[in-house]
Amino acid sequence: MIAVLHTTPSWYLALAAFLFAIGAAGVMVRRNPLIMFMCVELMLNAVNLTFVALSRRLGDIGGQTVVFFVLVVAAAEVVVGLGIVVALLRRKPGATADDVAMLKG
């Protein structure tokens, strides 16, 4: 049974599922806005892993092209998100996600 050990896309899909679940749990558990952002990045990376695995499985380069766009969108998202975090922390040092409730009118 060891002789037939090849990595198949299902291994990568299972790993991506684990990574996405850890990231999702992290967003819900942590309260520091920076670390919540990092967990969102983990989820994006899990999706990228799925795209590349399926691109390899189906022999379609389109999956890798989509990952390229996901990278661009992730960079833009981090830049804007960190801008918001900087504005929030300047107003209230040590702010957690609970403090964003002050944005309510």
């Binding site: 050990l5 090849h6 990595t7 198949t8 896309p9 299902s10 990568y12 899909l13 299972a14 790993l15 599922a17 684990f18 990574l19 996405f20 679940a21 850890i22 990231g23 999702a24 749990a25 992290g26 819900m28 558990v29 309260r31 520091n32 920076l34 952002f37 990092m38 967990c39 990045e41 990376n45 892993l49 590349v52 399926l54 691109s55 390899r56 499985r57 189906l58 022999g59 379609d60 380069i61 389109g62 890798q64 092209t65 390229f68 990278l71 661009v72 969108v73 992730a74 960079a75 833009a76 981090v78 804007v80 960190l82 801008g83 918001i84 975090v85 900087v86 040092p93 040590g94 609970d98």
Partner: protein, 186 residues
């Protein structure tokens, strides 16, 4: 056999780093754990013949995004360990963890029930026979052909997106301009 060892090592890096991001107290440690995860994913991209994306993953994620995180951590002085013992919202963690496990179960089920078939396409099993371009040069060429022919409008749209993101950040992070005291000037 080599690829199995590579997969196991890279998977250990990815999972260890991901758990580190969630459970570490200190934000800097979380950022460094995220670097570990990102490098593991870059190794996996290489193992799956996506050489260009592996390079971009290291340059953009480990090089730019993590540095941006560390920069904000240092700039805002939030590099204090957060006490994970207090739990302001009663029962938040058990609910979050059970929701995470539920997410995992749903994802695994969506991949692997029906024998790995999604809409009649077998997504598990053997790799495509030489379908996705093999080899580094082939990979870059195939990706460039796809990006600049089929997806060229989306590619142009990303430039607009990046300009908007830069402008938005400048406006968000700028200090409000001080009112010029006219009385004091005269």
């Amino acid at each position: 056999m080599v690829e199995v060892v590579v997969f196991i090592v890279a998977a250990a890096m990815v999972l260890f780093g991901a758990v580190g991001v969630v459970v570490r107290k200190h934000p800097v440690h979380c950022a460094l754990s995220m670097v570990l995860t990102l490098f593991g994913i870059a190794v996996m991209f290489l193992a799956m013949d996506a050489q260009f994306l592996a390079a971009v993953q290291i340059i953009v994620y480990a090089g730019a995004i993590v540095v941006l995180f560390l920069f904000v951590i240092m700039l805002m002085g939030v590099d204090k360990a957060e006490s994970l013992a207090i739990e302001p919202l009663k029962g938040q963690r058990p609910v979050a963890i059970s929701l995470g496990v539920g997410t995992l179960v749903v994802l695994l089920a969506s991949f692997f029930v029906h024998g790995g078939k999604v809409r009649g396409v077998q997504i598990t099993g053997a790799l495509a026979a030489g379908g996705a371009a093999q080899g580094g040069e082939q990979n870059v060429k195939a990706l460039a052909l796809s990006l600049f022919s089929d997806y060229v409008f989306a590619f142009e749209a990303t430039s607009v997106l990046l300009v908007i993101a830069v402008l938005g950040t400048v406006i968000l992070a700028r200090r409000p301009p001080k009112q010029i005291d006219v009385e004091a000037l005269s």
